[in-house]
């Protein structure tokens, strides 16, 4: 009988001491994690795509909570969740709605097979990165889309595909969440995130060729030749020509489309504008 009592007493004593040590440790070394981080993470889509610029959704949640404490959510945006998710997050954190306009990936090359003739055959590894390292690729344009689909492989949302007819990458607007993975994957920096625009209407220069006019024109009939006509035409100062290529600043563009009419090579593209009577709607606000 004594043995049992001793055993119970000893074990009880050990248990008590261990409990006290654990209690002391948990107080002494406690790490405080803001419970809001977990709540915000819960709201985010959980794709861990990295489109926000952080390693995953947890990273963004952490930054959002810190941002809320600092009083501003500027620059923090989940491109996948968009306004909807950011609204919920802002409500939770008691902040004004995070500022962020819907964006979409835009492929700035319109050198289709017809307009940009093949001058060589490439038989190496069929990735854009490998072909880009070998030289200008199968056409004479050293800036255009190589069409091997590194962007397609990088997209986690099945939103970008290479059109076999044109040989160019095309973005599916409905699917694109503007995470920017394709932008990073493209070895030629052809893809850019631009404002989606009202009703998805956008105007952009679909070319990044920095060669001088005649050279660019020889390589591709639809190349921007940097003539500067669009720059002169633009009433809002949204267009700049640098290194023989024109660029439309999507934050300044008011979608008047005057530049489209003057472009001699048709390298300025418009999307989602209604086809008939396009002129009447030119004052559409951005």
């Amino acid at each position: 009988m004594d043995f049992m009592l001793i055993a119970v007493a000893v074990l009880g004593a050990i248990g008590l001491i261990a409990a006290l040590v654990l209690f002391a440790c948990s107080k002494k070394f406690a790490v405080y994690e803001d419970p809001r981080i977990a709540q915000v993470t819960e709201l985010l889509p959980g794709a861990n795509c990295g489109g926000c610029g952080f390693a995953g959704c947890g990273g963004l949640a952490d930054a959002l909570v810190k941002g809320a404490d600092a009083g501003s959510l500027d620059g923090l945006m989940c491109p996948v969740g968009g306004q909807e998710v950011m609204g919920k997050v802002a409500d939770l954190l008691g902040m004004a709605i995070a500022n962020g306009e819907p964006m979409v990936a835009v492929v700035r090359c319109n050198g289709t097979c017809d307009l940009r003739p093949k001058i060589a055959e490439y038989s190496g590894l069929r990735t854009c990165a490998a072909m880009n390292a070998c030289g200008a690729g199968e056409t004479a344009c050293g800036f255009g889309c190589l069409g091997c689909g590194d962007c397609v492989a990088a997209c986690q949302f099945d939103a970008i595909h290479v059109n076999p007819e044109t040989g160019l990458a095309e973005v599916d607007e409905e699917m694109c969440v503007a995470c920017g993975a394709c932008v990073k994957a493209c070895p030629r920096n052809i893809i850019e995130l631009r404002k989606k625009g009202p009703k998805g209407r956008r105007v952009f220069v679909s070319c990044v060729n920095k060669d001088k006019g005649p050279v660019a024109m020889k390589a591709c009939k639809a190349a921007c030749i940097g003539c500067g006509k669009c720059e002169k035409e633009c009433p809002f100062g949204a267009i700049t020509v640098e290194n023989n290529v024109s660029y439309i600043d999507h934050t300044k563009c008011r979608l008047c489309r005057k530049c489209v009419a003057v472009c001699p090579t048709g390298s300025i593209h418009t999307v989602n504008f209604p086809a008939p009577k396009p002129k009447e709607e030119k004052e559409e606000q951005a």
Binding site: A130, A133, C134, G135, A136, A140, D211, V215
Partner: protein
Amino acid sequence: MNIKTFSIGGIHPEENKLTHEVATKVAALPKQAIFPLGQHIGAPAKPVVQKGDKVKVGTMIAEAGGFVSAPIYSSVSGTVFKIDTAIDATGYRKPVIIINVEGDEWEESIDRSDKLELVKDHPELTPEEIVERIKTAGVVGMGGACFPTFIKLCPPPTAKAECVIINAVECEPYITADYRLMMEHADEILVGLELLMKGAKVTKGYIGIETNKPAAIELLTKKCAEVFGGTEYSVEVVPLAQRYPQGGEKQLVDAVIQRQVPAPPAIPVNVGAIVQNVGTAFAVYEALMKHKPLFERYTTVTGKKLQHPGNFLVRMGTPMKDLIDACGGMPEGDNKLLAGGPMMGKALTSVEVPICKGTNSVTIISEEEAFRKEPQPCIRCAKCVSACPMGLEPYLLAKLAAVKNWERAEREDVVSCIECGSCQFTCPAHRPLLDNIRLAKSTVMGIIRNRAAKK
């Protein structure tokens, strides 16, 4: 006799030295010469001429753009037409100087006689003076890599040079420019070697030649005994077994003096060797003894379908088209045009690309041979591992590149790859190993550079 070679890996591709016995011809002057500003390793050169300037043969047209860089000299006389962009051997449009050729007027300082000048007659050439003159003459490695020669002669303080090894291996198929140079200018090459040894303050020299060039081995052995017998210098001609890539610096050091160069950033001089191409030795002779900066080189123009393949002494800046036309024109059908040989050469998409300091060959591969076979799944046969002269595991590196695991690729020493292509050549499944490894190498090197810049 046991013939030396390097210790691990290597392959033996078909030689196809079509132009071995074709004597060198002097290529005609081009109508327009194109000088890319970045034709060496390091910073591109900076133009010192302007549109409309008159230049002579041997006039400096661009100065070195940094420490690791080299000046560029005009190879023709005429007027600077424009400073523009043109497609160079990288396949992209890069800054170039274009000169319209008028006549052939040389700078007076250049000695155009054939008289052989000897080092002993020029006591003014101290080691420092030699290095300085090599630097100003724009001499770079003529084997293809185009590393500025003067830097190799000034080893970092932690390393001490013990010998100069002349790379006369020419292990790449098709190319015969170095062989012709040896047969036609052996005396000059040996004087060049003496200058290099004097510049590097060493007395031991080696000349590594593969056994498929017996005439060159015999000639140079005889001349070495004549020239260096009874002097402070001891030079040895080392016959080497035929094995690609023996012409790689590290392989050559291994083959000739049985020392292994450690992984980058170590360079051959860390084990005491300075490796220079035979063309570089000739360029050094001409630069120092004839006051002729680097603007001409020996180039092989070759290909099985080419009517009259040949070796040419060509002025740099000459478009490849001119040389191909001199060989009977581009063969019928689609061809693959390479700057360099079939193993290391770079495929080009334009015949207007000019001959540069590093263009040792223009190789034309016919359509039937140009295309790769359809890749099959890897069968883990490890032939690539046996073939890799750097002791790497190509199948693994290629896989790591495909899945973008750069950390692991770095640990597996992808930066040691010399891009010789032995793995891809030997792969029975025709897998694009080198394409992948090259991507991994450039990405990992970028990561390492970024890391160093942050520190």
